[in-house]
Point group: C2
């Protein structure tokens, strides 16, 4: 690179969300999937991400796999730790949105107040709460990680839906019912919502 | 979007770093700028980011402005809090690298052990420690935020270089001396290093 190709400005020139937006061709966004363990949040989020990625969107998933083993490895499952867990995830989502990225966050996030606090970090149009609604009995019958079994036997304490509350969203942007509909239909519902709201620009 | 355009796979299909890499056309990377307050870390990081962005790289800055007011707003400046501050920043950088992004992190990060712990989160080629070397006297004479004045008067406690240690890196990938060289030369040095190491692919 020749010296004369440098175009450095020293003062107050900082790349902003709008620079990233122009480059990426779509608005940044948080798709916040909330629901019981086993409701299909993570499956849904990954499937939606893959579709968005294939369409050329800049995306990233935040879920238990990459958060609980890293950033929040110091937190447990007490109410205080769960609140701090969600607070930090919200702040990380904000950094990704600032970088122009569509964040898909899949966490039980059982407390309404915590989710509202995350929502408040964003512009109204940037935050989409997706309630992944599924009856406890159905979630428990799926029990993909055997967690309900452990919770019922008392081996696992403070398990959402068993001995820890889940507070249903009052006004989520979108509800998908994964007890009645397959995940493919649910993915389609999320994509339709995002598209109709004009978040992605261009011709979908 | 027509139903038949959905291409959903349900099991274990998760986008990986290599998917993002293919799309972005360059490796993800952490450029970790460490040095005293006033050494020019943040100025340098922003200027390098702008150049990389102009070249088409996918970049994001982590610095005090977006971390201390958000994710780490619960932390102070005690040794324990400083360690936790750097730990969390390292974990967030890891998420961005996982998303295929070049992260520029500009933090005093005074403790060697903390920086090494961050380094250990990454592949060897992914982490570049840039020691922004500048004599304390020069940093203090710049004092862009008036912090050294406050530290000298005792108004500010535990200030790195005054009453809190700064541990010089033993083996940083790169040292830039901002007391002897202007920021433009320093930017050039960082870009040359990154380019020579082949991180960016293509023809620079």
């Amino acid at each position: 690179m020749g010296a004369n190709k440098l175009n450095i400005t020293w003062h107050d020139r900082v790349l902003t969300k709008s620079d990233y937006l122009k480059r990426n061709g779509h608005q940044p966004l948080v798709l916040w999937f909330t629901g019981l363990s086993g409701s299909g949040k993570s499956t849904l989020a990954h499937a939606v991400e893959e579709e968005l990625f294939r369409k050329g969107c800049y995306t990233y998933i935040l879920d238990g796999d990459n958060i609980r083993h890293g950033l929040n490895s110091d937190l447990g499952f007490s109410e205080a730790d769960r609140r701090e867990n969600i607070r930090r995830i919200g702040e990380v989502a904000k950094l990704f949105v600032d970088a122009g990225i569509i964040v898909l966050a899949a966490f039980i996030s059982p407390y309404r107040e915590d989710r509202e606090r995350v929502r408040a970090l964003f512009e109204p149009a940037e935050f989409i709460e997706v309630f992944v609604n599924c009856d406890l009995a159905v979630c428990e019958s799926r029990d993909p990680k055997g967690l309900y079994r452990k919770a019922r036997s008392g081996e696992l304490k403070q398990f959402t839906g068993i001995d820890s509350p889940y507070e249903v969203p009052f006004r989520p942007e979108l509800v998908v019912n994964t007890a009645c509909y397959g995940v493919e239909d649910s993915v389609r519902a999320v994509l339709a919502f995002v598209t109709e709201r004009g978040f992605l620009g261009g011709d979908w």
